[in-house]
């Protein structure tokens, strides 16, 4: 496929650069102001699929172009650059603001908080534009929140693809978050040793 980068693609495989999507914890991805709940998950795919919108795309509610996308990772990552493919006809987002390692950001928070970095986006229908990050600030990212406050004049905002370029560090940030505490005792959860045949405990 045509790769309109300013280098020839035979040297390396473009798609391997954009492989950070493999480290995204896709079930926990969420978005605010999406028209179809759950549609945000279709936005993270391999670079080759970036223009393929058969699985759906992320669209905001009618008359409201704001979107917030929350992206948790399975391990800490370092993000080098971000690529966003929007919809046509003015539905592409025009600005992007990023927050890292903050959970539960909603619209009032996003508008009042200082973003870690902000970009002005151009309409990127072919997915060849990428936006570099201040790499020093994007080390050890456990989760990333992207806020798109505006679009290019359309009634809704549409996003087909979000690509992340960077490195995964194999470190986990929040191990404690994966533990489920028991609030009320549930006997069925605890099989006593006697039920499974018994036996004396012994030390080897």
């Amino acid at each position: 496929m045509a790769c309109l980068h300013d280098h020839s693609c035979e040297d390396h495989d473009c798609s391997s650069d954009w492989s950070l999507y493999k480290h995204i914890d896709v079930p926990k991805v969420s978005a605010l102001n999406e028209a179809v709940p759950g549609s945000v998950k279709s936005v993270f795919k391999a670079w080759e699929q970036r223009l393929n919108s058969s699985e759906g795309f992320l669209e905001s509610n009618e008359g409201d172009p704001e979107l917030i996308v929350f992206i948790p990772f399975t391990s800490d990552v370092k993000i080098k650059s971000i690529s966003v493919v929007g919809g046509d006809d003015g539905t592409s987002p025009s600005r992007m603001r990023a927050f890292i390692n903050r959970e539960g950001i909603d619209f009032s928070d996003a508008q009042s908080m200082q973003a870690i970095q902000e970009w002005d986006l151009a309409e990127n229908l072919q997915g060849v534009l990428e936006y570099q990050t201040r790499y020093s600030r994007f080390q050890g990212v456990g989760n990333l929140t992207l806020h798109f406050p505006d679009n290019h004049g359309g009634d809704t905002s549409r996003i087909q693809y979000i690509g992340l370029k960077g490195e995964a560090t194999q470190l986990k940030r929040d191990v404690v978050a994966t533990i489920v505490y028991e609030l009320m005792p549930n006997p069925s959860d605890h099989k006593a040793k006697s039920e499974t045949g018994g036996g004396m405990s012994h030390v080897e």
């Binding site: 605010l32 102001n33 509610n61 409201d64 539960g104 909603d106 619209f107 009032s108 609030l183």
Partner: protein
Amino acid sequence: MVLEATMICIDNSEWMRNGDYSPTRFQAQADAVNLICGAKTQSNPENTVGVLTMAGKGVRVLVTPTSDLGKILACMHGLEIGGEMNLAAGIQVAQLALKHRQNKKQQQRIIVFAGGPVKYDKKVLEMIGKKLKKNSVALDVVNFGEEDESKSEKLEALVAAVNNNDSSHIVHVPAGSNALSDVLLSTPIFTGDGEGGSGFAAAAAAAAAGGVSGFDFGVDPNLDPELALALRVSMEEERARQEAAAKKAADDSSKNEKEGESTSQDATMSENVGTSASESENKKDDLMDDENALLQQALAMSMDDPAATVTTRDTDMSEAAADDQDLALALQLSVQEGAKDGSGQADMGKLLADQSFVSSILASLPGVDPNDPSVKDLLASMQNQPEELQLRNLNRRKMRTKHPRRTTNDFILFYSQVTSCGGYI
């Protein structure tokens, strides 16, 4: 088992004093709130519920979202009723309280009890709804209390603006004998979005129904099988006896046209009464009387002359018995009981008829002058009554054959009117 943080907005405005929901709107609302809190905390132990009031001096958060049911129930005590419900502010404060919940993984939900009138515009409410939808907050509205077309319309518009994939609901509860909490049990507010709350809701619904009529006679067959069996057998015997009596009455109607039109009503009436055959006969006889006799009977009862009433009943029943020998057995039972009462009361009647005795009693009463003409008239009328009643009974026999049909509904209506005004028309 969806993990949820809920804020319940209670209406404690002046409109909650009204008693069209039993016992008062406010109490019905409190019961419903308790039920909802229980359901939410049961469906998932990590669910939290908070409560705020919308009226009074202003919107006030009583308890922030917590999973401690005791705390929630305790805060419902000592609430004061007053002021006007501020729907918009209530929802906004609820949204703020949910935003600062401790566990950010919980879904946000607001449940609003809208009893008083809504003073906000539809536009304003729609904007609030859109904002809730944008922040993925679900909203449930319980529309009860004041009935207003614009109120229902506004609330429907609000819920439609918030609704995202059927997560928000609105329930309209009209006033009536059903408790607010019972009506809510069957709505999606309780049953959640399919799973989860449905377990608790089903159990609560069964308990509520069982308390009323789930178990046939209010007795659990598991707890007390012999009692349940005895009750069931006696109920079936009673039903069989009433059906036999109704059938006999139906046979009577073919002979006597006068009784015919009320037998179908009698059959239903007797089933509805359902205690003893003799008493159902009593009612049937009352229905068969014509208007005048009914009126006189009511007058007699209101004048509190027990002997007269017993004699009227006795005469009625003897007439009915004359028609059919099979009824006589049942009637005899009631006559015996009536006679027992009657003998006691007949003595009283004789005493009362004795004017000297009566006047001596009256003289002892403070404020009553036995020489007062109105008192004398009363005594005279009481003496004359027994004779009058005998005359009336004779007349009744004659009038019964002559009088045209009347529908039983008229009788019931008239009889109820007569008794309601104390018998004085």
